[in-house]
Symmetry: C2
Subunit: 377 residues, 2 copies
Amino acid sequence: MDSRQGHPEPDSESPPVAASSPRSPKLKASSKLNRWSMARALRSGVKIIDRPINAPHRQATTEESDRKTSAVDGDDVAAGKSIYLVSDGTGWTAEHSVNAALGQFEDRLVNRGCSVNTHLFSWVEDEEKLLEIINQAAKQKAMCFYTLANPSMSKSAKEACDQLGVLSVDILGPIIEGIASHLGVSPSGLTRGAPGRVKTLNDAYFKRIEAIEFTIKQDDGTLPENLGKADIILVGVSRTGKTPLSTYIAQKGYKVANVPFVMGVEPPKTLFEVEPRKVFALTIQLVVLQAIRRTRAKTLGVDTEGENRYSGFDLVRKELDFASKIYEKNPGWAVIGNNNNSYVTNKAIEETAAVILRLYHDSSDSSTSVPCISKRF
Amino acid sequence: MDSRQGHPEPDSESPPVAASSPRSPKLKASSKLNRWSMARALRSGVKIIDRPINAPHRQATTEESDRKTSAVDGDDVAAGKSIYLVSDGTGWTAEHSVNAALGQFEDRLVNRGCSVNTHLFSWVEDEEKLLEIINQAAKQKAMCFYTLANPSMSKSAKEACDQLGVLSVDILGPIIEGIASHLGVSPSGLTRGAPGRVKTLNDAYFKRIEAIEFTIKQDDGTLPENLGKADIILVGVSRTGKTPLSTYIAQKGYKVANVPFVMGVEPPKTLFEVEPRKVFALTIQLVVLQAIRRTRAKTLGVDTEGENRYSGFDLVRKELDFASKIYEKNPGWAVIGNNNNSYVTNKAIEETAAVILRLYHDSSDSSTSVPCISKRF
C-alpha cells in the first residue's frame, strides 16, 4: 500500500488560476450533486452497477486530442485515478484518513488492477499555492481532500474546487466544528507552523522520545535486566513481528521490550518476574510463519537445505510448540493469535498494535463496561 | 499530549439503551442545531464570547443531585469534557484526526488548564456494543466521533446519537463517499476484521518490515558500511532527534540510517560517498539543545559539573559549530533547521518527518510545479 512512484509530468503551459475557466465544463454543480447522491446511495446499501472505471475521462481526453496534453491531463488505465491531499501542516491526517477509506475499495484496487494515485501536498500555507494545486487537480481530473486550519484558506479551497468542478471533501473542518461546539470554545485557526501555536517540547514529548529510545535499546532480547521498566513486553518466535510492533507502539509513548523465543534457549528469568498483564505472547499459523521465514531467508540469502533450516516445516513447528508450552505455563500472559483469532497472522502492524493496546488498557483498569483507551489532553 | 489516565467509573445502574430516555432533555435536536450553527459561525471567523466551560453540565449535575451519580455522569472541571471515539477497526484514524483537530484548541487546553478526555473504543463490530457505548456517552455528556465501515452500523450510530442528544460526527463516511463517487465504485462495507478483506501480507508489508528492521540496525551510526543501502540518512549532534525521527519515517516504508556527529570524531567515509540528496542534516537552536540535553542528563544521572559537561553551554556550542562546518562542506545536503526555519527546534517528530519527506520526494523528482509526495495504490 505504500509503494512510491514518480510525479506526473506537469503541464508547463497551464494558465494561471485566476484567468482559467473550468477545463471540464460537463462537471457542473448539478452533475456533482448527482455524483454525491450516488455516493450516498452506495453508502446506504443500494447496489449500483459499477460504471467502467475511467471511461468518461478517456472520452474527454479523446475530445481534446487536438490540444497539447501532458501526463497530468485526464487519466488513463495505466496512470489510474488521482486523489489530491492538501494540508497546511504535515498532511498526515489527510493521508491517514484517505488510506483508511481506500481500504473500502481494496478489492477493486488490488484484485482488479485498477490503481489510485495519491498526491500529498504539505505545508500549503498561502492562497496562491493552494489555487495552483487545485488548478492542477482540475486538469488532472483529480478529486481533492483538504485539512486547512485557517478558515479563510478552507473557504478558498471549497470555492475554487466548486468553481473548477473538482470534487472536494473537507476532512478536518467538521471535526473542528464538532469539538468547538462541544467545548464551547473557538478554534485558533492557526496552522501547525504558525508562531502562535503552543510549543511541543513538553513532558509528553520527552516521554515519547524516551519510550522510543528505550524500545530500540531493548530490541531482540537485549538488556533483559531492564524488562521491569517496560510498559509492554512482546514475546514470540522469530518472525512473529515483534520488532515492527514494538517500534509502532513506542511511537504512541509506551516503553516496549521484546524477547525472542528460540528453540531450546531458556528465556531470561526477569521475564517471569514482571507483571504478567504486561506480557503479550505472539503466535502465528504454522504455514504463514513458514512463508514469512522463506521470504526472509531469501532476503538474507542464508537458508540451507534440510529439515533443520530456518523455514523448514519441522523446525518451525517445533519452535511454535516450544513457545506454546511456555505460554501455557504463564496463563496471565495474553496470547495474541490463538482461538482462531489469529491476530498476528495476516494482520497489519497497526491492527495487532490496536488489539494489544486495548487489552493492555483493559487489564490495567477494567472498570468500564466496554474496554477503551483513555487519554487526557 | 499523550499522557494516559485511568478509566472513569461506570454507572453500574445504567439502563439498557432501548429502554432509556435521554438523560439531558435540554439537548434536543433544536438545541443541537443551535450548537452546530454556532460552530459554523466560529469556523467562518465570527468571534463569540466563550461561555464558561462545563457550566451547563455542572448545573445539570446539581439538578440531578437526588439521583445516584458516578464519575462518568456529567463533567466537572477536574474530570474535563469527554470525547468518545468509536471504531469497528483499530480506531487509529479517529484518534489521529481528533488529535489533529484538538491542536486547534491547545491554547485553551494547555494554557488555561481545561482538559479533554478521549476514550477510544476499537473493534466495535456489533450493534449491541455500539449502543452500549453511545448510551454511556449520553450519560457522560460526551460527544461521539465514529469510523464505521459497515453502513448499517454507521446509520445506527447516527440514529442513536441523535435520539440521545449526543453530538456526533461521522469521520470516515464523507471520505468514503467522496472516493466512491470519484472512482464510480461501491465501497465494500467490510470492517478491517472481516474475512473478506484483502490480506495484508503483500510486498508492501514485507518492504515496510524490512525498512523498520534496517532502520533499527543502523541506529546511532552502527554499520556505516550499509549507508549506501539507506533511502534517507539523518546526521546531527546528540539530541537533535535522529532516533525518533528515523523510526517514525521507517514506519512509512523508508530505510533510514542515522549518523551522530560527535565533537572531534571524523564521520564515516561512506557518508560522503552516498547521493547528497539522501542526506538530511539536523540542526537546532543552541539554547533549545542545551535544555534538551539538561533533561536528558538528569534522566541518565550522568551530567557532571564544569564547562565540558554534556549540557554545558561551551561544549554544546562547539559541537554545533563542528557539525555546521561539515554541513557547509557538503552543500548537497539539506540542512533542516537553518535560515530561521528551525524545523527541528520545538517541532514534533511528525512535523520534521513531513519536512524531510517532502524535500526527499521533491529532490528525487522535481517535475511538478508544487512539490508533493506521490503514491500508487
